[in-house]
Amino acid sequence: MAKIHRVILVLCLLVTFMVMFTGCIDKQKLKVMFGPDGANASVSAPVSQNGGTGSDAGDAQAQARQSLDINGSVGVLPLMKLLGDAFSESGGCIVNVTAGGKDAAITAADSGEADAVLYEESGAPGSENAQVIASDGVMLIVNAGFPADGIEYDHIVELFTDQDNMIGDEEVQLVLTGPGSHTRQVFEGIFPVRGESEGVQQSLVPDTATIVERDSDVVSEVLANPSAIGVVSIGTDLQGAKALLIDGRSLQDEGYGAREQIVLYTGQPQSELSKAFAGFIQSDAAKKVLSDNGYTLPVK
C-alpha cells in the first residue's frame, strides 16, 4: 500500500513539474500533445529553454519555436517588454515582443502568429478571450479658483491643437509633461492631438504650452497660475488642484472620456502558451510590474 502511495506521489510530482514548464514547450509538440483546441491528452517530457538574441549559431530555429510572441499597440510596448521580461524570468522562456498596432496584433493572434496581445481600449473589451488587466488615463486639472468645473472632449482637442485658447471668458495656459513622458503618451493616445506633416505624425500642441518634467510639476504650475490647465496621470496627488469633469463625467464615473483600459487578448483559439501567459498576468509578479509602472489594477 505504501508503495502505491509512493508511486502516486512520484507521478503527482512529475505532472506538477511538467505543468510548471508548459509555457516553454515547443508549440508544435503542444499541438500534438493537447490537440488543436487545447484538450487534455497525454503529457510528454517538457522542454525548457533559456536564451535570447545574440546566442550561438545553429539552434535559432529551435529558439523561435520555443518562444512566446507578444504583439500589441505601440502605446503599451514598454509594458509588453516589462511583462515579457518578467514572464521570461519566471519560466525561463524566450519572449519576442512586437508592436504592430491593435488591429494587426489581434489578426496575428487569431492566425496563431502571436500568443498574446496587449492594447488600450476606452470601453470594456468586447471579444472573447479578452480581459482588462489594468487601467490608465489622464486628468485635466485647473486651479481651485478656476471658474469652470468641466470641459467637453472636443474642446480639449481644440485647446491642445491650437484651434482655441479660451475656456469661457478665460484665456488659458496649457501645461504638459514632455513628449517622451508616459502621461504625454497616454494623453496623445486618448485625444487626437497629433497631425500629419509630409507623412510624419507630429504633436500639434502649440509652442506656447508650458512643458515640465513630471506630473507633480504640472500640479505646481496649476496651483501657482489661476489660468493654467494641466494634464496629469490618474492617481496623481492634486494637492488642492481641481480635476475638470469631461463631458460632465468625473474620473469615478462610467464613460469618463480620458481613461483607457489595458486589455490582454489571447487569441481564438487559445494556445497553451497564451494560457500560460494569461495565468502569469494574474500572478503577484505581474501585478507588481503593472503597479510599479503607474497602472491601476482592476478592482475585483
Partner: protein
Amino acid sequence: MSKFKRMITFLLVALFLVSTVPVALAAKVTLKVDGAAIATDVAPTIVGDDALVSLKTLQDGLGVDTTYSASKKMITVKSAAHTFNFAIGNPNYNYDGPIKTAAVTPKLVNKKPVVSLKAVVEGLGGTVSISGSSIEVKYFSLMKGTVKITGSTTLQPIAQEAANKLNKMNTGLTISVAGGGSGAGVNDTIGGKNNLGMSSRALTSEEKAKITPIAVADDGIAVIVHPSNPVKNLTKEQAAKIFLGEITNWSEVGGKNAPILVQVRETGSGTRSTLEEMLLEKKSVIASATPSASSALIKQAVARDKNAIGFDSIGFVDKTVKVVSLDNIAPTVETVKGGSYLMGRALYLLTKGTPKGASATFIDYLKTADCQNTIVVKEGYIKLR
C-alpha cells in the same frame, strides 16, 4: 359620449398624419461624384440649385484638403490647382485671390462647418446638378488632354491603376505612367520632361525651390528577410550595421551561423534614399550589395536566398518574404500613420509650378476616398486620411 370618442379618434389620426407626412416627404439627400455615391458625415442640405456640404464630404468626393479654425471661424479648401477661403456666416469667399459670393452662406451644423458645394465644384471646373433629393457632381469625368507621369516604381502601381480608371472614364484623355525611379521623377519634373513626377522620398530644399511635392499616399519601408530566417526583430543599430556592412553574419543578431547577403535598390531609388536618410543617418549602403532596379525585383531577390536581407515598400511585401520589426515595432498601417515606425514616409506626385487641367484633376483624384479605398489600400499602401 360616442361622439366625443369619435372626435378624440379623429384628432389623434390627424395629429399622426401631420407629424409623419413631413418626415416622409423629407427624403434622404444623396450625393454622387461622377456616378459614385459619397458617404457623408453631415447630410447635405439642398438650398435652391446649390447645397451645403461638410468639409469631409469635399475631401472624400473631390480629393481637396480642408482646414477649419474654430477660433477664427475660417475655412480653407485647397485642391491641386485652387484655394478657397470661406468664413462662417459670410457668403463672400476668396477664390485664388479675388472675392466671389456663394449662393449659400457657410455655417456650423453640429459644430461642423458646411460650405457651398457649387462654389467649390465650379471653381474646380466641374458641374453640379440637383434633381429632387439627388445631387450629381461631374468633375473627374470631364478630363481631357494628355498627362505624362514618370518616376518612383513604388508609387507606379497606384498611379497606373488610377490612370487606367480615368482613361476609361474619359474619351479625350490619355494618361501614361512610366517608372525610372524617384531620381528620374524629380529630374524629369525639374527639366519639364513630364507633366507629373513621382517620388517615394522627401525632396531636398534645393529641389523644393524648383518643384512642389504633393503627398498622395503613405507608406512604410519594411526590412525583409527570407521566410525561413528565425530573426524576428533587429534594433535600429543592428539593422543599420547590416546595411553598412559592419555586421556580416546572422549569428551576430541572434540568427544562425551564415553570412548575410545584403540586397539593395539601385542608386536613384527613393526607397534606397529614404532608408539611407532614416536608418543609416545619411550614410550609403554597402557598395558590394546587389542592386535591384525595382520594388518587385528586390523582393524576388530576397525571396530567392535564405541568407538575404533587403528593404521594400510595404505595398510590395507578401508571404514570399518575412518582415523584421525594428526596435520591436512592425511596419503596419497603425505604426506608420502613428509615426512610431522608424521608416514611415509619404509618396508624392511632383509638379513644376501650379498644375493645370487634367494634371491637377489627376492629383485631386488620387486623394479622393474612391481612389484611396479602392486603389491605394488594395495595392497594399496606406491611405492618406
